[in-house]
């Protein structure tokens, strides 16, 4: 059933896309006075199988590898391409639907068709089977990423399970002092959210917030707990420690403010940007703290980007 729908989508695109969406606009052309002996070099250097022959912007014909080979086989004298080019051309207009090109490729044995601008009557580009394929893939890719964003909200799980309330909880304990182990919770959480089909942008936000909170637990909090709760709308990250607590919350929220000891700074931590980074990744950050008792961060990341 899925296969049928995909085919249908491509067919729809055949009509939706125009020739101009696929045609290559930078075309190597030759003048009618270009000599046949030069054709090989031109086709080869541009890696093309044919070149339109143009005079004052008007398309006179097309000179292809085949014309060149025929000329070689006949052992004829060198001459301007105008004497050997194909004049019997099948051209396409830039505003025609892509399906016309596909029909033409089936009908004629040509590798490419010159594309003409309907208004000016001048050569606009050239279209090959390869160009059609690339344009189709691009269009499908755009459709697909739209679909991905639509369904990757992670909410489907919560729509599918039935309960008056449902939520999913991941709890991690973070040991004290081991900076080298920092980032493990963030990394595990990232994987879990990936399994659930949460959108990559949301995962990134959660990973950054969790990473910074995790480092805070290790450096300042004496270790602690990270509890992540998902429901259909948001991811809540609670970070709890029983460390020294924060005296003045407004001050620690200032970017650049840090109480990190020298050895921590030497490792590139304690820049005083951790909480700022959490704030930037989250919709909401609440800090409650009591000196000598501990600190709790309550971080909310919504499942849909506003």
């Amino acid at each position: 059933m899925k296969r049928l729908r995909q085919l249908h989508k491509v067919q729809e695109l055949f009509y939706e896309l125009k020739i101009r969406d696929a045609a290559v606009k930078e075309v190597s052309t030759v003048s009618p006075l270009t000599m046949m002996t030069q054709v090989r070099q031109i086709l080869r250097s541009q890696k093309i199988t044919a070149a339109p022959v143009i005079e004052n912007g008007t398309l006179l014909g097309i000179v292809s590898v085949e014309d060149y080979i025929n000329w070689l086989l006949e052992g004829a004298d060198d001459c301007p391409v105008s004497e050997r080019m194909s004049r019997d051309l099948v051209t396409m207009y830039d505003d025609e639907p892509m399906v016309f090109a596909i029909q033409n490729f089936e009908k004629y044995r040509y590798y490419e068709f010159p594309v003409i601008n309907r208004q000016s009557g001048k050569l606009e580009g050239i279209i090959t089977k390869f160009d059609v394929l690339v344009a189709l893939l691009k269009a499908l890719d755009i459709d697909y990423s739209k679909m991905e964003i639509g369904t990757y909200a992670g909410t489907h799980f919560f729509n599918d399970v039935t309960a008056d309330q449902s939520r999913l909880e991941f709890v991690y304990s973070v040991p004290d002092g081991d900076i080298g182990a920092g980032g493990e919770v963030a990394s595990k959480l990232k994987k879990n959210l990936g399994y659930l089909g949460i959108h990559p942008n949301i995962i990134r936000r959660v990973a950054i917030a969790t990473y910074e909170a995790e480092m805070n637990l290790i450096i300042y909090g004496g270790g602690g707990t990270i509890r992540t709760t998902l429901d259909g709308n948001q991811i809540r990250i609670e970070v709890i420690d029983e460390g020294p607590g924060i005296e003045d919350i407004d001050t620690v929220l200032k970017p650049g403010y840090s109480t990190a000891p020298a050895w921590v700074r030497e490792l590139g931590f304690g820049a005083g940007m951790g909480l700022t980074n959490i704030q930037d990744s989250a919709q909401n950050l609440d800090i409650t703290s009591a000196v000598g008792k501990g600190t709790k961060l309550d971080i909310i990341v919504p499942l849909e980007e506003s």
């Binding site: 080298g180 990473y211 931590f269 700022t276 980074n277």
Partner: protein, 115 residues
Amino acid sequence: MKLEDIVRKLDLEVTSGEKKLDREVTRGYASDLMSDVIANAGKNDIWVTLQTHPNIVAVASMKELAGIVLINGRRPEQETLNRAVQEGIPILVSSLPSFEVVGRLYSFGITGMKG
């Protein structure tokens, strides 16, 4: 420019992520502060730093950076290397100091500006 071209031109030693060298790099970030990199580096950036501890892999992975260049011949710690292999993050070692590494990257057209 592809990461592998940078490796070749700067004569970098590839210590991990050999299979991820075909990534296109257009921008770079130089910093030794983890949170600063988290805040300011962007996807596919090349990151120049002197830090060698395992957290650089976590940061690079989180920000989807193209690779890490360690300067002054500093080598990744064993645990850093283990994680980099696991996460597929290229860690590249240069014998040059950071100013020189950044300058040469800039001359290849790698800039530090967003957008």
